[in-house]
C-alpha cells in the first residue's frame, strides 16, 4: 500500500504559499491579457473578413487610373509592369485578370424576360481561399453550367439605383442564387447558350467572375478582339495595411479596387496594437515564470538535506521530485483553467456588438490551445528545473 503522505509532509515544509500565490496571480494576469487580446483580435478580424470568405484580406485588385477619355490607348499592364510588381517585397504573388473577348448576353426568364449584355473576368482558381461552390467548367459535358461570382456592388447598384426607380423587381442574394440564367456566348460567327448560376458574391472582386477554365476556353473559340494587356491584376500581399503599397501605387499611377487598403490600414494598426498588448502579457508571464523558478529553487535548496536523507533511505530522485512536479502542474493548470474561464466571460462582453454587425465570434478553441501551449512550456521548464535540482541534492 502506498501512502505518500509522510514524504509529502516532509517535503511541503518551506513551501512558501505567498510565493506560489504570487506566481499564480502574476501568471494569471499575464495569461488573461494574452488570451483575451488574442481572442478579441480574432473576433474583430472575423468581422472584417466575414464578408468575403472566398478571398481573405491579403488580396488587392490593381488597375490603372483612368485619365480623361482614353480610346485606343492601352490602360493595361505590360509584361514589364507585372514583372516589376512581382519584384516588390510586399508582393507574395500576382496574376492578371483574364477578360472575355467575345460577346456575352444574359437572360433571366421571369414571365417577362430581362436581357442584358455582360462580360466575364476570371482569376486563377488557386487565388480563392475557398473555391465558390461548383466552381468548374467542362465544355465536354452535355450542357455545362457556368458558375458566376457577382460583385456585391453590382447587385447593390441594380437594386437600389436602378430597380427601385424603374419599377423593376429587387433581388436578394438568396433569390439571385436560385435563378437560372441563360448565358449566350457568340463570336466568330458561332453562338452557344449555356445555363448559368450565381454561386456567390464578393466584395473584393468587383466584376463578374467565371471560372478561368470557361473564360480561356471561350476566348479560344469565340474571341474576336486580339489579346490585350490585362486591365487588372490580383495581388496577394504580405500586409495590406503596409504604407509602402500605397506609395508604390501612387508613383505608378495605379489604384486598388474599392480602396480596401483603408480597412487594411485599420487592420494593420489593430494588429500592431494587439501585438503590443500580447507582448506585455507575455512579459508578465515571463516574469511570473521567474518567480516560480526562483521559488522552486529556494524550496529545494531549503529542503536539500531532507531530499538527501530520503534518497539515502532508498527513495529515487523521481519519487521525491514528483511531489514538487505535482505542485507545479496543479498550480499551472489552475491558472490555465481560470484564464480560460476569464476569456470566455470576457467574450460575452463583446458578443452582442459583434452579432449585431451580423457576424459570429471566432471559436475559443485556438485561444485555449495557445494557453495550453504556454502552460505546457512553463511546466516543461519547471519540471526540468525540479528534476535537475533534486538530482543535485543527491
Amino acid at each position: 500500500m502506498s501512502q505518500p503522505s509522510i514524504v509529502w509532509r516532509l517535503l511541503r515544509r518551506n513551501i512558501s504559499a505567498g510565493q506560489i500565490a504570487g506566481f499564480a496571480a502574476a501568471n494569471l494576469v499575464g495569461m488573461i491579457i494574452v488570451l483575451t487580446a488574442l481572442q478579441f483580435y480574432r473576433d474583430v478580424t472575423s468581422v472584417i473578413n466575414t464578408e468575403d470568405n472566398m478571398l481573405t484580406q491579403d488580396y488587392i485588385v490593381l488597375s490603372r487610373k483612368v485619365k480623361d477619355v482614353s480610346f485606343g490607348k492601352s490602360t493595361g499592364f505590360s509584361v514589364a509592369d507585372i514583372a516589376d510588381i512581382e519584384k516588390q517585397p510586399w508582393v507574395k504573388r500576382v496574376a492578371p485578370f483574364t477578360a472575355s473577348r467575345f460577346h456575352v448576353t444574359g437572360k433571366i426568364d421571369l414571365g417577362s424576360g430581362m436581357y442584358t449584355h455582360l462580360f466575364f473576368e476570371s482569376i486563377p482558381d488557386d487565388y480563392f481561399d475557398t473555391l465558390p461552390p461548383d466552381w468548374s467548367f467542362d465544355p465536354e459535358e452535355e450542357n455545362p453550367t457556368i458558375p458566376i461570382v457577382l460583385s456585391r456592388d453590382y447587385l447593390a447598384l441594380y437594386n437600389f439605383g436602378f430597380a427601385a426607380t424603374r419599377g423593376l423587381p429587387q433581388f436578394s442574394e438568396e433569390l439571385i442564387s436560385e435563378l437560372e440564367l441563360k448565358v449566350s456566348v457568340s463570336g466568330n460567327g458561332l453562338e452557344r447558350t449555356f445555363p448559368g448560376r450565381v454561386v456567390g458574391f464578393s466584395n473584393r472582386l468587383n466584376t463578374i467572375s467565371a471560372p478561368q477554365a470557361f473564360v480561356e476556353w471561350a476566348n479560344g473559340i469565340y474571341a474576336v478582339d486580339k489579346e490585350e494587356d490585362p486591365m487588372r491584376l490580383i495581388v496577394q500581399v504580405t500586409d495590406p495595411g503596409d504604407p509602402v503599397i500605397k506609395a508604390y501605387l501612387e508613383e505608378h499611377g495605379m489604384e486598388s479596387a474599392g480602396d480596401k487598403l483603408e480597412s487594411g490600414k485599420a487592420a494593420h494598426f489593430f494588429t500592431i496594437a494587439t501585438t503590443v498588448v500580447v507582448g506585455v502579457g507575455v512579459i508578465i508571464c515571463l516574469l511570473s515564470f521567474f518567480i516560480l523558478m526562483l521559488s522552486v529553487y529556494l524550496l529545494i535548496q531549503k529542503n536539500r538535506q531532507k531530499i538527501h536523507d530520503l534518497i539515502l533511505l532508498g527513495y529515487t530522485p523521481g519519487q521525491v521530485s514528483k511531489y514538487y512536479i505535482r505542485l507545479s502542474v496543479i498550480t499551472n493548470v489552475s491558472v490555465l483553467l481560470l484564464s480560460c474561464i476569464t476569456v470566455f466571460v470576457a467574450q460575452q462582453l463583446w458578443l452582442e456588438p459583434v452579432r449585431t454587425i451580423g457576424s459570429e465570434v471566432a471559436s475559443l478553441i485556438p485561444t485555449y490551445i495557445v494557453g495550453l501551449i504556454m502552460v505546457l512550456v512553463i511546466i516543461g521548464f519547471n519540471v526540468a528545473a525540479i528534476k535537475r535540482l533534486t538530482r543535485r541534492s543527491v
Binding site: I6, L310, L313
Partner: protein
Amino acid sequence: MRIDTIELKEALPQVFRDDPAPESQIWLTDVEFRRPNLYMVAAESGKGKSSMCSYIYGNRNDYMGQILFNGEDIRNYDIMRWSEIRRSHLALLPQELRLFPELSAMDNIRLKNRLTDFKTEEEILMMLDMLGIKHKANQLAAYLSVGQQQRVAIVRSLCQPFDFIMLDEPVSHLDAGNNRIAADLIVEEAKRQQAGVITTSVGNHLALVDPITLRL
C-alpha cells in the same frame, strides 16, 4: 542478484593521503566482507569508520583504491542503481541516525517500510516494544532522547531486505540490556536473511557473539 562479498582494495580516504601509512586492517590493504559473517570494525575516532560506511553505501566517493561488490567496482553505479541497492541489498544505520525530527518515531520507520513493504505495523510495534519504546511510537523524533532515537533508527534499518547491514556505532547511547536486545534483533534478522553484519564501534561494542574483529 544478492551481494555476497564486499571488498576494499587498497582503499584510503583521500584526506589521509599525505598521512603516514596507517596500521590498519581496512585501509591500504585488501579486505573482504562475506555474508553471512559478523564483523566488528573497532577504531578510535578519526580513523574514518563513518567514511567507510558512507563509501560502501554510495553516499560518498572521496576515496582512493577500489570498493567491489561481488568483484564489481561500485564507483560508477548511477543513482537508480544505488536506490535499488539501498532498498533491497544494503541496510545502513548511520552514526548521526538521520531521523526526521518533524515526524513521529513510527512515521520515521514507516518512511522506510512503505518503500520496501517489508514489515507489518505489528512487527514494527513488537520490535519497539522489545526495545522498550513502544509508548514513544507517536512521539515526534525531535523530543526523543538520543538513546531512544538510536533504537528507532535500529528498527528502521531492519525494515528492508538486505544482504549486508552496516551499523555505525549503533549502541553508543544504549545500556547493556538494550544493547543485548538490539544485538539479538539485528542478528536474528540477519540470520533470517542470511545476511552479513558490519558494525563499528569506538568503545561500546554491539553485543555480537564472536564477530570477526578488524582494527581500523
